[in-house]
Amino acid sequence: MAEARMKLVEEVADDVTVVEAHGRLDSTTAKEFGDRLAALVQAGRRAIVLDLKNIAYISSAGFRVLLITNRAATQKQGKLALCGVTGEVRRLFEIGSFLDQFLICPTQADGIGKLRQ
């Protein structure tokens, strides 16, 4: 992949923050990725939808950051929803038995709807 190794695109839709992640979520990108998500949680964003549809793959370093972010959001009485968990990324969630650790929605719109309930 010639594109940047990792990129986050954020958009605030009223009370919900949508973060689109691009690239790879691995040992070289996990810290930057986790720091940004932690900053959003610390800033009081209570509802975060993280779209993984443009992520090529997630290694255990990346899953660790997702689990930490999920816990941090819960501790702040917030919620994290994942969407775009398809293809190779979904297979990695399955292999690692991570599917039941997260709120996973098919699309951004589903995630936003779920977090507004």
Binding site: R24, D26, S27, Y57, I58, S60, I68, I95
Partner: protein
Amino acid sequence: MPDRSLISSQAPSTEIRIANDMCEIERVTELVEGFGAGHALSNSVIVALNVSLDEVLNNIISYGYDDTARHDILVQLAIGSGGVEVIVEDDGKPFDPLAVATPRPRSETEVGGVGLHFVRSLMDQLEYSRRGPINRLRLIKKLEHDDG
């Protein structure tokens, strides 16, 4: 098992030496992407190689060394009719990843053991040997007919 059971010595291959620094893994990822594109490997195979190498190299860099010196890690890739072969050599502490048990029960943020579980699940064959001061890990990813 002979070292080259799947890959002949004339097989197309490439290699890279990286330092024991986490950001160096990106160079390996780029090598895999280029190798994969050059040999028309499927995305599934490229992901398997990249995730496995990320896990193996992260382990070596995180836990392999008692000093703070720079160490080289060698990564070799080769392709033959049997599949893709990956060899990783480091001069860190003796560590046989195949001897590590299945993942521990995990807490909310604990992924201990999952990395090697990924390697075992994504690759078809794993062999470890210690040769003098060198850990040598050999991984094989078989290629299906519909791959690539």
